[in-house]
Symmetry: C2
């Protein structure tokens, strides 16, 4: 991608590669629970029940699916300790740090975009 989106139109092939890579990234991050889950585990490693308690409203079935998804994508480690009954602890991996730039850019852009939308709504109200 060019320094400026509008400087030069990318080729069809470049577009496809870019769109697919961006889609991969969006796919991993999206959904209602992925980000809250990552942020909850950033606070500290937790057990299944503790996570369910922290994320109010999530069902055990969905939480289980989301944790498995995050584990498969390398963001979460699941460790079983041989206590009686067994203790299962979920924690964030070092690999999650690779998300730092992308989450930061999304956060910055999200904040400024909201400001733009609010300003433009106010402008419309003044006109009306």
């Amino acid at each position: 991608m060019k320094a400026n989106l509008m400087d030069e139109a990318p080729s069809k092939e470049q577009c496809l590669v870019s769109v697919n890579a961006i889609r991969d990234a969006l796919y991993v991050l999206n959904g209602k629970w992925k980000l809250p889950l990552i942020f909850t585990l950033l606070e500290k490693p937790r057990r299944f029940n503790e996570i369910q308690h922290a994320l109010q409203g999530i069902t055990p079935k969905i939480l289980s699916k989301e944790l498995k998804d995050l584990e498969e994508n390398g963001f979460v480690n699941r460790t079983v300790y041989p206590t009686t009954p067994v203790t299962v602890i979920y924690e964030i991996t070092r690999y999650s740090n690779t998300l730092e730039s992308v989450l930061n850019e999304l956060r910055i852009w999200g904040i400024q975009h909201r400001e733009m939308i609010i300003a433009s709504m106010k402008k419309k109200e003044l006109k009306a």
Copy 2:
């Protein structure tokens, strides 16, 4: 957000602000057609039918909705020229350039994440 995601756990409040901003950004970018639409209009301004032709498989109803959504978010300008019949041209706005960093980070991360996943699948195959 800290320089390193794991350096220090953010407070609950910081988390919520970050999660909401990131969600705003993801909301705007997500869906099957948003990115292909933006990339198609980056090539050149187009009419409705031309866009529909470029994005094979999109229905007029969905295209209309997606264009309206992009217009409301400031990414696309819709101009009506008083020809007979009227000509409606959609083009990308200067504001879309604000997406550049975020799309670039998503692209870079998406590429390296795919490589990581492929490497980890190969490793599992070797073990099996």
